[in-house]
Amino acid sequence: MMKRRDFLRYSAKGVAGLALPISAIEIVSPGEIFADRESGTRWVFLVDTYKCTGCGLCVKACKLENEVPYEANVTRTWVERYVMTKEGKVWADTPKGARDGFTTNKIDLGEGRFQDVKNEEIQKAFFVPKLCNQCEYPPCVQVCPVGATYQAADGVVLVDRQWCIGCGYCIMACPYGVRFFHPVYKVAEKCNFCYHRINKGLKPACVQACPFGARMIGNIKDPNDPVSKVIRTGRVGVIKDEYGTMPQVYYLGLSREVV
């Protein structure tokens, strides 16, 4: 009969002996294999803030298209209003994400309080639509503990509703606040440029709904794409580039007050 000591010794040797050849095997994730197939598409978004009137049709269309409960106070895209006074004060709000547009001149301060800003006090004012930036280096993907959120080869960051555990770490990691918990599916939810539509050659719901052409989508890898041309040759800005995420939603007419 084998002594316990010997048994342990042989086991250790066996494990060590096996570990060596096994260490030579490289673990490749499916994502890596797919990434090798060079994609000819990199989806990007262009927002022309000069054209946005804050009507909120984009938000409405998005909620209906993507089945984000209409009354729930979460949304994949929203519009912000900025009002700067002559005294240099900055007011900003986004009541219900501007789902119903901006129906009053009063600034929503939350919890039922409003700020009245008189027309003659205003120096300048504008609207800024927001959505997921589909970052080149998405921090949400980095922090997901189970790999339930991932970046597709065409740059869009997606969420696997079957695999997300709902820890909320991705929501914390996003510098743009685009993520939330879906009230029905109870998993992380975000804008994906209407992935189901753009893959069929359709435009995202918000782009299609915008009556003023303030929202545009394009492929930055295609030199003939009109959006791509504007981003390449025009003067565009991005939001919060200091985080090193390389956001891929570009803005025309971005002002320094926008955060």
Binding site: N73, T94, G110, V143, P145
Partner: protein, 414 residues
């Protein structure tokens, strides 16, 4: 209703999806993990550095840290939106995430604590198993105990002097390895927060170190408190029966040992407390001095909205008052009890001010969010993320310890 909406009040410019997503359970998580790590470090002070005065409290702290370990995982599990999928962290860890390492670190730490306890108690386990085996006419309970201890021997009945000596060596090695692992377990809890670049309050490389120091403080404090409570109960029982407890000669001896252990341990508590506060203040001063873009909103949170929570509750009542209580010479048991309860409160408030404080301002840097903790639960969500969920997490380690103490007597001489 969106998750988080029920307990979040928004003020000024806050974007639509921002809520307090990480609430009371995520405050409990670093708090409980910290206590585990701290209790283990305390027990290692005796096993590794041979600080003999801590012998009494060391064995208890070790068993207590095993009771605390499953509870460190509990708040994480409870706050998941998909609790049934929590196991995925173990099966498909995504290693660029700080949380993914949890499975590995936790398992390693659990193995270390469990095996250390096994080596510490091996002699006792074997003796008990043999004594029960030889006993004729065992009752049902004794049969069960016999089975339990027989299994716990893992087939090793050798308790010769040589074998016991080897056990002691194994304990020393495990305790030594355990210290960095315990620090890692908790330091990485700090890393989970410290590495979130989107959060202006959390992001600092000091976060893991601050977490480790305050962890040790809280672990020592809770060990001291539980130790005192148990000793007082024994003294009370001994006094009522008018006979001495089996392990002690007299009632006076119980008191004497207790005071002695508490005075030594409080010195270590004080040492780590000073370290923790220094680091936290360094962080605060550094932020104010460098005054980056985010300092304006942080300043309004730290010196305005959260002033009471941070400077009165955490630094004042939680740190300064116990500091004074411990520094005054002639430490009594009563003063110690007040001191350690305040220390525990202070560490809890520190976790609160990091986790909730970090979410109390908007990504726009011009809005605030306020967490209103649900008290009376009306569904699973408000239970999990409310007062009673937190209390459940607080009580569980004591229940577990009560059970573990039956198998591994933490106070009896073995």
């Amino acid at each position: 209703m969106a998750h988080g909406e029920i307990w979040t009040l928004k003020e000024f410019f806050v974007t639509p999806n921002e809520y307090i997503y990480w609430s009371i359970q995520i405050v409990m998580y670093p708090f409980m993990t910290g206590v585990v790590a701290g209790a283990f470090v305390l027990s290692s002070l005796y096993h590794v550095f041979g600080i003999r005065q801590l012998k009494e409290i060391a064995r208890f702290a070790l068993v207590f840290s095993l009771a605390l370990l499953p509870v460190a995982m509990m708040p994480l599990q409870m706050h998941l939106q998909q609790p049934m999928r929590g196991i995925e962290i173990f099966i498909t860890p995504h290693f660029t995430s700080a949380i993914a390492a949890f499975g590995i670190v936790f398992t390693v730490y659990f193995a270390i604590v469990a095996s250390e306890i096994w080596f510490v108690y091996r002699k006792f386990i074997v003796e008990t198993a043999l004594a029960l085996r030889e006993k004729a006419n065992r009752t049902m309970a004794e049969k069960l105990w016999h089975l339990t201890y027989s299994v716990l021997t893992l087939g090793s009945y050798d308790i010769s002097e040589k074998a016991i000596h080897q056990d002691e060596r194994a304990v020393k090695i495990l305790a030594t390895v355990g210290i960095p692992v315990a620090c890692f377990l908790h330091g990485y809890a700090g890393f989970i927060f410290g590495s979130v670049k989107a959060n202006a309050l959390w992001m600092t490389p000091l976060m893991p170190v601050i977490f480790i120091m305050s962890a040790i403080v809280s672990g020592i404090a809770l060990s001291m408190l539980t130790y005192i409570v148990v000793m007082e109960i024994r003294r009370f029982i001994a006094a009522r029966r008018r006979t001495a407890h089996e392990a002690f000669q007299s009632i006076e001896e119980i008191r004497g040992t207790e005071v002695n252990v508490v005075r030594i341990t409080s010195k270590y508590l004080l040492f780590f407390l000073i370290f923790a506060i220094s680091l936290e203040l360094l962080d605060l001063i550094f932020r104010g001095y460098t005054a980056l873009k985010t300092w304006d909103i942080l300043r309004r949170v730290i010196y305005g909205k959260d002033f009471f929570d941070i400077f009165i509750l955490q630094y004042g009542i939680g740190n300064l008052v116990p500091f004074i209580l411990f520094v005054i010479p002639g430490l009594t048991i009563r003063r110690t009890v007040v001191g350690v309860i305040l220390v525990l409160f202070g560490v809890f408030m520190m976790r609160w001010n990091v986790v909730i404080g970090g979410q109390s301002f908007s990504l726009t840097y011009s809005g605030f969010m306020h967490y209103v903790m649900p008290i009376i639960p009306h569904d699973m969500e408000t239970f999990n993320e409310g007062l009673f969920g937190a209390l459940l997490v607080m009580i569980t380690p004591f229940v577990l310890f009560w059970g573990l103490n039956k198998v591994f007597p933490a106070f009896r001489e073995i």
